[in-house]
Point group: C2
Chain length 450, copies 2
Amino acid sequence: MEREFDVVVIGAGPAGEVAAGRLGEAGLAVALVEAELVGGECAYWACMPSKALLRPAELLAEVRRVPGLTAHGPDPKLVLERRDEVIHELDDASQLPWLESRHVTLVRGHGRLDGERRVTVGADVLLARKAVVLATGSGAAMPPIPGLAEAQPWSNREATTAASVPESLVILGGGVVGVELAQAWSSLGSRVTLVEGMPRLLAREEPFASEQVESALREAGVDVRTGGKAVSVARGGAVTVELEDGSVATGVELLVAVGRKPLTAGIGLESIGLEPGKPVEVGDDLRSAAHDWLYAIGDVNGRSLLTHMGKYQARLAADAILGKQVELRSDGALSPRVIFSDPQVAAVGYTLAGAEEAGLRVRAVDVGTSANAGGSFVGRDAPGTSRIVVDESRRVIVGATFSGAEVAESLHAATIAVIAEVPLETLWHAVPAFPTRSELWLRLLETYGL
Amino acid sequence: MEREFDVVVIGAGPAGEVAAGRLGEAGLAVALVEAELVGGECAYWACMPSKALLRPAELLAEVRRVPGLTAHGPDPKLVLERRDEVIHELDDASQLPWLESRHVTLVRGHGRLDGERRVTVGADVLLARKAVVLATGSGAAMPPIPGLAEAQPWSNREATTAASVPESLVILGGGVVGVELAQAWSSLGSRVTLVEGMPRLLAREEPFASEQVESALREAGVDVRTGGKAVSVARGGAVTVELEDGSVATGVELLVAVGRKPLTAGIGLESIGLEPGKPVEVGDDLRSAAHDWLYAIGDVNGRSLLTHMGKYQARLAADAILGKQVELRSDGALSPRVIFSDPQVAAVGYTLAGAEEAGLRVRAVDVGTSANAGGSFVGRDAPGTSRIVVDESRRVIVGATFSGAEVAESLHAATIAVIAEVPLETLWHAVPAFPTRSELWLRLLETYGL
């Protein structure tokens, strides 16, 4: 069957859903093609289940900092039940009314480009009058380590949806996924070994964040091994991972979390002269330079592998298709980002090192995240540092990193300051309420010299 | 003894301390006069102890929203011990090193103006070469209700430092103090009756905030009585309060929280031709129009009775004394403010009604505070509303109110947006991280029409 739409979106993860919904709301005829679950990786196998696994232990730590309460847990059975509830038992029915109310036609099956503005889904053909939007996301990268493939490793999918707590777990990769899942499973009773080839965890973030997270993981009982890559893997019942220095790590399960690869193979890119398996390159308007009817949003374009950035790109791409002038103003490594470890790490814009590498004339100032009156009540005495990176020539903040207990909601103030390029002299008049930990802003500006 | 300083600051509460410290840091010779405790009302008898009393129950409520933990409490004994720790057992020794390191001379005693740039403290005379800063704060107002004075009512002081939980408590006044202390003592086991003459609690905030707080207090067992003033009070063992409609409220203790009066009697205002007992009027540079050497900061000037605003005014006044051009850019009813009830209420700038009264052409949009992915993990299913008030002619946010569980730290983003007058079109590019509740910003802007 051949059907015609204004726009065909391939992939119903967060980015694809938002693009389709926004276009549908604007009155366009939209087809949204999905081979698995509407909601995508994030909703079922990444952001959402990992937070469900992490939150109880994070909250328990806060309870222990506040005299007057006694608490026990986390109870793995209840936590896993709540995780199952959060991922809707891998059923996407609850996502559908949102699409239906926006008149988006959901097409279940594997979408594949078949030349210009033409998408096949099995025997069906979808023609796009205006645009095709690629939003097929990313999958876990598997490094070519001898024995790894044969050892049946977990990706983020198995690691976020496991039906029980593995007695022990080796994790390859100390980035966001590795750190969050080390924390989560350790808090539920697993004996976790976390292996990172780089000298430190969370290598893209400020060094103080890496140190605090590593130290907290060690205190929680995680065996953290940095600075040595895995060289071989063998499974004989349990999994044994050999590291560069000859030491070994063993676990009942092995999670590989060393990066992501865009899911661009098998979607017909070759039919329009693009190379499968690579990110689909787009400009700041999310449009392919090669085809003016082709957009790529979310992980598939390789710019910023974060759900909220995919959704942001989706809004812009939809607006571009609707004829508006659009431009990404938040992108790549400078995107706002939160790591839900304990301490949490929330950052936007440049790290100090990143700004210096970019050639900016910057100065960083640091204060303790809980070193203020608000810290007597929330995150009391917990480790944490707040840093702003100031562009000295323009006196605006070009980067900020907060580490500490429950700092995730504190990021947005920095995101606004960075994106709007609010001058320090104006921020000085934005008074943080007493006694909240937001007074760290006051301390930062005072320390800077205001 | 007669001594000369550059600046004499009367009152070592938050505002006085900050002014003295900032001037001392800048190298000026500063005397800071305090009759009671360095740190002031806020540190010992207001903000700090009330938050110590409130935090455990707030946290317990969050634990009950997160499956996987069991918790008990709050244990009044432990909570009161922590409260005593927070107020340093009413000992200000820990405040002194901060002043000493800034070379501020602390003068203990009752400071009193005695003509131009002259302050007496008992037999001592302090001469001010440059300026005198009044920062004597405010005290609880006592309304002229028959029998009230004789009934030995509590002010905020007794209510925040009580050595045990009163079996029952009547509170007159449903503003911030009344609401927070109703919540606090109720959570520790007291039977509380909260009486407010106005038709609703927190009358200056958005109506939805009043409704949600009132409803939560009722659910917690507080007997809330709005719309009827107290007409008489009698104590015979317990206290009996008679209301306008003839009904009565009884309690072992009675807290009066109907407002504050500036502490300007007995400080020698008459010696410079100003009227004692009234707020000391100042301009946007915190300077008296009557005397160019006289500044008044904090509650004493009546502009904004909030600790953080007093400290803000202190920074500006100090800078003005140091010769800088300064101007209040955040003031009065538009100041950022947080009420630590559960749900919390955090607001900055105008309410919708306030903006309309001010003649602005505005539109408000509302979303549920936890109606986003982040709300699956923090403040799950808790009541709460987030509202922005948009100035339609300039397309900037002139007011924001957040109600809900733990929204206090979410306010600063709005404060920056309001103070910096960030256009909605720019805020649209400030992407909230997924899955945090800060995505309420995305929903607000989408609902507005971006």
